[in-house]
């Protein structure tokens, strides 16, 4: 399991725009870089990220090798209801990781 840093407010007022920041530990090997033996290292990146608020997808991103190692994403959403935010990363070599955070909306 890769280490994940998620910055989600624990509580928010209804209708408030909240900022979500997500960072995951990953090499994001581009597939253009030679390794120690001089041969080009095969590509190994996270290709897709999706964030759900309850059941609804609120943010999706397709990532390419131009994204820096340990991909960081920051985006916003409107706090609508108390519930769970689900974060899912997927990529090369069967990489898949899911994290959840709950939010209380008053």
């Amino acid at each position: 399991m890769a280490r994940v840093l998620l910055n989600v407010p624990r509580s928010a007022a209804r209708g408030q725009v909240i900022e979500i920041r997500a960072l995951i530990q990953h090499e994001m090997e581009t597939g253009y870089r030679p390794g120690a033996n001089g041969e080009v290292l095969p590509r190994d990146i996270i290709r897709h990220f999706v964030c759900r608020y309850g059941d609804e997808v609120i943010f999706q991103a397709a990532l390419y090798p131009a994204i820096a190692a340990n991909p960081f994403l920051s985006f916003t959403t409107v706090a609508t209801e108390t519930g769970t935010l689900t974060f899912h990363w997927s990529g090369d070599n069967g990489f898949a990781q899911t994290e959840t955070r709950s939010i209380t909306v008053t």
């Binding site: 870089r33 991103a61 390419y64 090798p65 131009a66 994204i67 994403l73």
Partner: protein
């Protein structure tokens, strides 16, 4: 005769050198944007790229894209795509957002192989496309060559 053969050999060598694409086989920036947008017209404006103009380390460059949109149920940003001019691949990131985003703002960290131009294209809920661009100077490139 011998001299002629050598000259011919030189010509072949030159032809091989010229036939090799200069910066690797990648589609040009305009082609990549065209592939994303299709036949639709892209207007300039409403999209702002926030990136340092002078970057010391191309391995991790903070990039933030903001689109001027009210982000209501009827008028919102559907997607934002970022393209580069001189990395080995033209795509940087493509995000899909919606009216639930509240603000049309996305930030990430990217790699830049060299000094170049970045273009962001935003698709609005009415199907119109808007673009913004930024020039970046990179002093230490992302390790593409090693």
């Amino acid at each position: 005769m011998k001299r002629f053969a050598r000259r011919e050999g030189m010509a072949t060598l030159l032809a091989i050198t010229l036939a090799r694409p200069a910066a690797g086989a990648r589609p040009a920036l305009s082609d990549a944007i065209h592939a994303h947008a299709g036949e639709r017209e892209i207007r300039e404006g409403r999209v702002t790229l926030d990136i340092p103009p002078l970057v010391e380390n191309g391995n991790t460059v903070p990039l933030s894209v903001t689109v001027d949109s009210p982000m209501t149920e009827t008028d919102f940003v559907r997607s934002i795509a970022v393209f580069n001019e001189r990395n080995p691949q033209p795509n940087v990131i493509t995000v899909q957002i919606g009216p639930r985003a509240g603000r049309a703002q996305v930030a990430t960290r990217i790699r830049l192989a060299t000094s170049q131009r970045l273009v962001a294209v935003a698709e609005m809920s009415d199907g119109s496309l808007w673009s913004g661009s930024a020039e970046v100077i990179v002093t230490l490139a992302a390790c593409v060559e090693g």
